[in-house]
């Protein structure tokens, strides 16, 4: 093939942004199936709606910013943001919440900072945090797993609840229940012992009924991404280790303040955060040492917010707080260059 470029190198590898994003979505599929199995088709409806809204918003923003549509719409980054946000919000979130969250993520967190590659904060988490602090009630009304529900959630009921807020004359709250993290927090406040709390059926084997499997599937998808070299191991390993260590220490000192370390690893958004959220390259640290610091920071903050903060889960806040520190982390974690003195 004749060469196109006028300056070297004249060769290029097969790596493409689109391919990376596509593989991220593929890695999410097992966990999405698991979530749908445990929480009903609302999950899929959320994902579909979020992706649709994200692509439309992305196209409008590109048009407004006078950028070419094709390369940026096909890079897949908007879709990834949408899917991650959709998986983070409750499976029966009203449609307008999904729309607001996704639109805010794409418009404010991404494009107003300059679009792909320029956002200092993880767009999906910005959208999530906006929803969490604006609609705390809706954002914390999760569903019980299908096997514990009085009647399993079907397509019709899910669609009607998401788009009209009602099914058979009942609102979403009639179907909802607390997440294990939420239940743990509330009952600890009521002076219950975590060991006793964990023995309830809601808590399953370790991380909560259903939740533990969802987390395991997220982790397996993430490990596949590491194997495919789409993400590096540094962030997830550092985050999970930090979470494990700080929760172990706390449990050793005072077993009454929190659930077991395993509970924290396999509940809530831990694995989604570790492998798919905190690994966002754009808003995360870009040096190897920096990724370890970044991941560890997310792990510690997640735990601190879960135990001493006002919200049951802390992954989103932890990621955004660590995003703020990225320039600092990157500056102080530069590698020692070839032939250079140690920094």
């Amino acid at each position: 093939m004749p060469i196109f470029r006028l300056s070297p190198p004249f060769l290029a590898g097969a790596n493409r942004v689109t391919l990376q994003m596509l593989q991220v979505i593929i890695a999410l599929i097992p966990a999405v199936i698991a979530m749908t199995y445990f929480f009903g088709p609302g999950v899929l409806i959320n994902v579909a709606l979020a992706v649709l809204v994200a692509l439309i918003t992305e196209a409008v923003m590109l048009k407004l910013r006078d950028r070419p549509l094709k390369p940026f719409l096909s890079d897949g980054s908007a879709a990834v943001t949408a899917v991650l946000l959709a998986l983070a919000i409750p499976p029966l979130s009203p449609w307008w919440m999904t729309v607001i969250g996704v639109t805010f993520a794409i418009v404010f967190a991404k494009h107003l900072y300059g679009g792909l590659g320029y956002n200092p904060f993880n767009p999906a988490m910005v959208g999530y945090v906006l929803l969490l602090i604006s609609f705390p009630l809706e954002m914390t009304t999760w569903l019980p797993v299908q096997s514990m529900a009085e009647q399993p959630m079907g397509w019709m009921s899910a669609l009607q609840l998401i788009f009209t807020g009602q099914f058979n004359g009942l609102g979403i709250d009639a179907y909802s229940g607390a997440t294990p993290l939420d239940a743990m927090k509330t009952q600890i406040v009521l002076q219950q012992h975590p060991e006793f709390i964990s023995s309830q059926p809601l808590f399953g084997m370790a991380g909560g009924l259903g939740w533990e499997w969802i987390n395991i599937w997220f982790a397996l998808g993430g490990i596949w991404l590491i194997y495919r070299k789409i993400i590096s191991w540094h962030v997830p390993v550092a985050m999970l280790l930090a979470l494990l260590i700080i929760s172990s220490i706390t449990t050793l000192i005072d077993p009454t303040v929190s659930g077991s370390p395993l509970f924290h690893l396999l509940s809530g958004g831990t694995m989604l955060g570790a492998f798919f959220i905190a690994t966002d390259p754009v808003s995360g640290s870009t040096t190897l040492k920096g990724r370890i610091v970044f991941g560890a920071g997310v792990g510690i903050l997640t735990y601190v917010i879960r135990i001493w903060g006002g919200y049951p889960d802390g992954v989103a806040f932890a990621v955004i707080l660590m995003n703020m520190l990225v320039p600092l982390i990157d500056y102080y974690t530069q590698p020692r260059i070839y032939g250079g003195a140690a920094r």
Partner: protein, 509 residues
């Protein structure tokens, strides 16, 4: 015997595409009617012509002398008549012209008288270096640095290791591979001379493991030279850019060349096998450097291979000889696909640094618009200098050159690994080259303005000094004047008083 191999950070496993040009032996390129010889085919000062237009020259006759220390001589690659001394297009990415000597060959290829040295050990290292310089030998790996300088350890350095770099890590290029396969003896001749000139303790000949034939040939030749006990063949893993001088040094010795230092500062001197071969020919056979092995290959070359080509041979003739499917004016590459440069016209001569002519590549970098950087860090993972290309890119783009220096821009060896793996297809190396050029321009400007300011300040100082001196002189003159006035007045007074005294005495009398 050999120490375990070390490793350098980053790097890439690239498809080699080397078999394409190693199917046949090295062939001689037919003699061209016209040879065009740029006066500068090396790093340093251009050579100065010592022939005139119309003069008849013999093959191997010196036609230009070295100018200054960092320079080498130039020789007629074949016998013929000098037809022009003037500007001609040269193979340079700028597409500019430069002074060249043009020879119309006579087809007789008649040699000048050659001074052969049977036993180089009878000569001093200094004499050998002089012969090597007079023979016009430069580094044939691609940079073209005068070799005699790198064979002079000087009084402050001791050379422990002579490293012959037979890694040839760039895809497609096979000229060193073929040279090692076919002329192992000649290379070892050169190695012996180099060891002698450098007073080096040992020699390591490093070859990537994708060249088993070359390794076998070199081992066989070496086994016959039982006196070369301190020379060994080291097989290194095939990974780009193992052939980078600094990278190879780390692989075979485990040492890193400190930033802003040279290999000789850690007791290592690196030469290319082609250079070693040329040194052997120059000393033992009296032949100056007038030709080299050039790989001609690529997806659009019909008869790819390696060709012993006289310098000055038009690339056009060489490509015609190999038959290509190249469209007229289609750019091609001189050097490798990772670090070479593209040339547009083919009316350009083969020079001392032309190791490969590459027409058409697989896995070609697309012309598409790059996407923004997503900071994935793939570039940092493959950077053999452990730089952070994603940060360098950010600051180069923002023209924040202070930051690029802070992030060690000048340690970038421009190997192109970062470009290759970038998922956004950003031409990173081009950005870094741009930033380097800008910084060097700024430096030059600053130097110039510093000079101007110094000149201005010293002028002001001089003016002030002159003013002060003037004032001082005036003051002195005034003071002198005043003093003399005062003296005069005193004198007058004293005469007056004496007069009056006289009158008094007169009166008294």
């Amino acid at each position: 015997m050999s120490a375990p191999l070390s490793d350098f950070p980053g790097g890439l496993k690239l498809p080699g595409h080397k078999k394409r040009s190693t199917q046949g032996p090295i062939r001689k390129t037919p003699l061209s009617k016209q040879l065009v010889l740029p006066l500068q085919q090396h790093i340093g000062a251009a050579a100065v012509p010592i022939v005139d237009v119309g003069e008849k020259v013999l093959k191997g006759q010196r036609i230009a002398r070295a100018e200054g220390h960092v320079s080498v001589c130039l020789h007629a690659p074949s016998s013929g008549v000098i037809t022009a001394i003037g500007d001609h297009a040269i193979p340079h990415p700028s597409g500019l012209s430069a002074p060249c000597i043009t020879i119309e060959t006579d087809g007789e290829d008649q040699w000048v008288e050659r001074q052969q040295i049977a036993d180089f050990r009878q000569h001093s290292a200094h004499e050998l270096r002089q012969i090597i310089r007079d023979a016009g030998i430069v580094g044939l790996g691609g940079a073209g640095f005068p070799s005699f300088i790198k064979l002079n350890p000087g009084v402050h350095h001791t050379v422990e290791t002579l490293l012959i770099n037979g890694a040839e890590c760039e895809p497609y290029i096979t000229c060193d591979d073929m040279l090692m396969r076919e002329r192992a003896e000649g290379i070892l001749d050169g190695v012996e001379i180099m060891l002698f000139a450098l007073r080096a303790a040992r020699c390591i000949l490093a070859i990537e493991d994708n060249k088993p034939e070359a390794i076998a040939a070199m081992r066989f030749a070496l086994s016959a030279r039982t006196h070369l006990t301190q020379t060994e063949i080291v097989v290194v893993p095939t990974r780009y850019p193992t052939g980078g001088e600094k990278q190879l040094i780390q692989v075979v010795t485990g040492k890193q060349v400190p930033t802003n230092k040279l290999p000789i500062d850690i007791g290592i001197v690196c030469h290319n096998p082609g250079t070693a071969y040329a040194v052997g020919r120059a000393i033992l056979h009296g032949e100056p450097l007038i030709s080299r092995v050039v790989t001609v290959t690529g997806t659009d070359v019909t008869h790819a291979g390696n060709f012993e080509t006289l310098f000055g041979t038009p690339i056009k003739d060489l490509l015609e000889f190999c038959e290509t499917r190249r469209q007229p004016d289609e750019p091609f590459i001189q050097g490798g696909p990772m670090m070479g440069y593209s040339l547009a016209g083919d009316d350009l001569p083969i020079t001392k640094t032309a190791n490969c002519i590459l027409v058409g590549v697989d896995d070609v970098a697309p012309p598409a618009q790059p996407l923004p950087c997503i900071r994935c860090g793939d570039c940092a993972d493959v950077c053999p200098a452990s730089l952070l290309p994603q940060q360098l890119y950010w600051y180069s783009r923002a023209k924040d050159f202070d930051q690029t220096r802070d992030y060690n821009l000048f340690d970038c060896i421009e190997c192109g690994c970062c470009d290759y793996v970038c998922p956004s297809k950003i031409p990173l190396v081009s950005y870094f080259r741009f930033a380097k050029t800008e910084i060097m321009n700024q430096e030059r400007e600053r130097h110039k303005s510093d000079l101007a300011r110094e000149r201005h300040e010293s002028r002001l100082a001089r003016l002030e000094r002159e003013q002060q001196e003037k004032e001082e002189r005036q003051r002195q003159r005034k003071a002198a004047l005043a003093a003399s006035k005062a003296a005069k007045a005193k004198e007058e007074e004293s005469t007056k008083t004496s007069e009056s005294a006289d009158s008094v005495t007169e009166e008294k009398a």
